[in-house]
Amino acid sequence: MRVWKFGNDVNTDLITPGRYTITTDQAKLGKIAFIEHRPEFAKEVKAGDVIVAGKNFGCGSSREHAPVAIKAAGVSAVIAKSFARIFFRNATNIGLPLLVCEEVEKIDDGDLVEINFETGQIHDKSKNITLQAEPLPKFIQKIVEKGGFINYLRSEGYV
């Protein structure tokens, strides 16, 4: 899984500019992920690839279009030093796994990584190093495993 590396404070206007989010079509949203910030991303990203970023990833708007676009583009997980609060909830709610890892500086753009979601271990195959992400709270883990909040509510018999 190839790494797409981003910096600190990547905001939702960089992920999905408001001018492009007048739609709820997931396939369309997948094509506009980082459309102006990193135009090659949506064209070259492969299913399973991983985003690695610095602090406060996803800050800004509450638009759920941002994690939907990232997931629809094929990204299997986002690893960052920290996440903005609403983005964290939104990504969890749609079943896009997020991992918090202090050592993201050790990973470079283009590295190949493997993630063990149960242990939170990130193996960077290009550098042959293994990093440890913080384990997600059980409640959050369960939502992601079920593929999102609505599936979780269903599986628990709430709806």
């Binding site: 404070d9 408001g18 709820t24 406060n56 509450s62 638009r63 609403i86 409640f139 609505i150």
Partner: protein
């Protein structure tokens, strides 16, 4: 051990005697809000969960992000949301103001819990309520169940003392705070504003402070309600207060007398400098409005600066009242007429060009100075345009000069 106002409101809403930071609580919500940009996804999620909304009177839908629709796709989304509103007999449907201003004017009472599918839902916390922004799936679940889960946040307390000098307003103060703590300085936390400055500040100024809490990552901004709040709203409520011995993760002491007019420079809200240090930067568009600074006192300041003067050549000045009520009040006081005579353009109440979808989109190389709350690249149009954030006084003065200027010479 004492409790904060945020902990007390969330304990009350989750029917518990006490909750403290770190607990997870399922709270009843008083109002669930979504707007034209976020409601479509929320509605799709809602239909996956249920058939009936929990209480149509507690759901508020506002068209503000792109109303009237600027293109066919936008009109189609509006159609879908209107169908939902009709089907579920939602009476609280508005097209004449920014969602947060509508909530303030018509709905929120002290002690309420409000969730909105808009990050600036932290604004309403200025009325002594717990109010926070969420995404569409959470809002879908809240529309179906009337409940929402929250991790009780740690609180940061900002004790603001003193009185601001000439040309310094709530916007300058909150920009200064964000510049100090950074874009993630209050991540996941409650930002509680207190002190004699806050006590003396008008309710609209308090709304400006809480509006930008999310720009430092906060879950909610909050200010204790008082007599002033009650008179402003004309509504009763539950007046929660933080205990003297409440536990804060950190307390900041700030003297507002020391703050001069501030500006957030592109491309991040925490890139804050004094206006004096960027004076002379050419401006193509000046915008006064939004959920941050589109209220009557903001338009009054703008009218005062612009009175019997003309804006600079080749500059467009947009003034957008945050609601129809504000628009009419500003009109009856003559502010709107003064702004128009100075060369300003008035647009219908709503978000205007803040999200870059209509009414003042920027071209490559253009610069906008705005009273809004975000200056991210590409937000208002071309990613190669620049956005500076400032108070209504600074924006109005800059519109006259055609470049960024310190407002103190214009008041």
């Amino acid at each position: 051990m004492g409790l904060t106002i945020t902990e007390k409101i969330l304990a009350n809403a989750s029917h518990k005697s006490e909750v403290t930071a770190g607990d997870v609580a399922i709270a009843d919500v008083d109002f669930v809000m979504a707007h034209d940009s976020t409601a479509p996804l929320a509605i799709e999620g809602f239909y996956e969960i249920g058939e009936k909304v929990f209480d149509p009177e507690k759901i508020v839908i506002v068209f503000d992000h792109f109303f009237p629709p600027p293109n066919i796709d936008a009109a189609k989304l509006h159609q879908r949301v209107r169908n939902f509103v009709t089907k579920h007999k939602i009476q609280n449907f508005f097209t004449d103001g920014v969602c947060h201003q509508i909530l303030v004017e018509k709905f929120v009472s002290p002690g309420n819990v409000i969730v909105g599918a808009d990050s600036h839902t932290c604004t309403e916390g200025a009325l002594g309520a717990f109010s926070t922004g969420l995404g569409s799936t959470d809002i879908a679940a809240a529309m179906a169940t009337g409940k929402c889960w929250f991790k009780i946040p740690e609180s940061l307390r900002f004790n603001l003392s003193g009185s601001p000098g000439k040309g310094v307003y709530a916007k300058d103060i909150i920009l200064n705070i964000i510049g100090q703590v950074g874009a993630d300085g209050a991540l996941y936390k409650a930002a509680e504003f207190a002190g004699d400055y806050v006590k003396n500040a008008s309710v609209p100024s308090r709304l400006t402070l809480c509006n930008m809490a999310v720009e430092m990552g906060a879950k909610n901004g909050i200010i204790e309600a008082d007599e002033k709040t009650k008179n402003f709203l004309g509504r009763e409520g539950k007046f929660f207060k933080s205990d003297e011995d409440a536990v804060y993760e950190e307390e900041y002491e700030m003297e507002v007398d020391r703050i001069d007019p501030q500006v957030a420079c592109p491309p991040t809200v925490d890139n804050v400098k004094s206006v004096a240090s960027v004076e002379g930067k050419n401006v193509d568009q000046a915008f006064i409005g939004t959920c941050t600074n589109g209220r009557l006192e903001d338009i009054e300041i703008a009218a005062k600066v612009l009175r019997e003067k003309k804006i600079a050549d080749n500059l467009r000045l947009l003034v957008i009242p945050a609601s129809t009520k504000i628009y009419l009040d500003a009109f009856s006081k003559g502010y709107i007429q003064e702004i128009i005579k100075a060369g300003g353009i008035i647009c219908n109440p709503g978000c205007g060009p803040c999200v870059g979808r209509h009414e003042g989109v920027l071209a490559e190389g253009e610069t906008c100075i705005s009273t809004q709350n975000r200056n991210f690249s590409g937000r208002m149009g071309s990613p190669k345009a620049e956005i500076y954030l400032a108070s209504p006084a600074t924006v109005a003065a800059s519109a006259l000069a055609g470049k960024i200027v310190d407002p103190r010479g214009y008041l």
